[in-house]
Assembly symmetry: C2
Homo-oligomer: 154 residues x 2
Amino acid sequence: MGRKKIEIKLVKNIEARYVTFSKRRKGLFKKASELSILCGARVGLLGFSPSGKPFAFGSPSFQVVIDEYLHEGGVETFENGEIGNLNEELKDLKKEIKVEDKKIEEVDKGIIPTDLSLEELQKVKTSLKELQGEIEAASSLLLLAKKPVFIIQG
Amino acid sequence: MGRKKIEIKLVKNIEARYVTFSKRRKGLFKKASELSILCGARVGLLGFSPSGKPFAFGSPSFQVVIDEYLHEGGVETFENGEIGNLNEELKDLKKEIKVEDKKIEEVDKGIIPTDLSLEELQKVKTSLKELQGEIEAASSLLLLAKKPVFIIQG
DNA sequence: CTCACTATCTATAACAA
DNA sequence: TTTGTTATAGATAGTGA
């Protein structure tokens, strides 16, 4: 999406890193907004910049997402017993991913040979990261669903 | 980004809506993941599908974002007094946006004439939605910063 | 950190399965 | 709700201010 294809890994140059962050955060907000409007979904986003500054986004609002989570997105969303099963599945997935992650690391270091091109390897790594993110988040949701939940002091 | 340019508004056909949701959620996760990896940012995402099913994503993990928010992203991020000022600014911005929103609605209904092309109008509307999302979220962050915060029961 | 420019790379709308 | 294909619309890397 730019003058050149880039690898998805930490941008070394700090200045360039901030520029990239600024541009892509904007892009992410836009995507989140579009998803919400096009599909009637609700999306909340919370994060921290490279320098540790918080940023957030919500559509139709951040608060709506929190409220929906508190009132409907928690325990009631899952059938009885379902949570335990899902947790087991997630545990297995995490194990598998850990194995794959280690494998890739060793390929990277040349310890293990591979038939994959650098480009293909990059894709695998990126996919793995995404999967990790989803699984991790799913775990968190399940955890929160089991032990309710975010409480907002007020 | 597809065969045709589309307006950013609720997809009428429900089947198509779900397809769009499925694809764009995937895209959003990818963008969030890339932002995190490229810039060393932490990103957490929580939302609900059109049908009310929760989804979440985190990079490097959902939990990391929550933890950082609890420990560093809250009150300490803002200087004393800064919060009050920011809240005032946000209040003003919200008012302005409300006005603009109403204006656009009336333009849509033909009550107010406009020199803008449909395309330009669409852009303005989309930008406004994004701005709303950011401002709303900023408000939430400030609110949470003032009245600390998410508490995770355990 | 933001803004503008523009050559390229990517995400995705429409369609079918 | 998910997946694959293909033509396009849209995002963004590199660069300079």
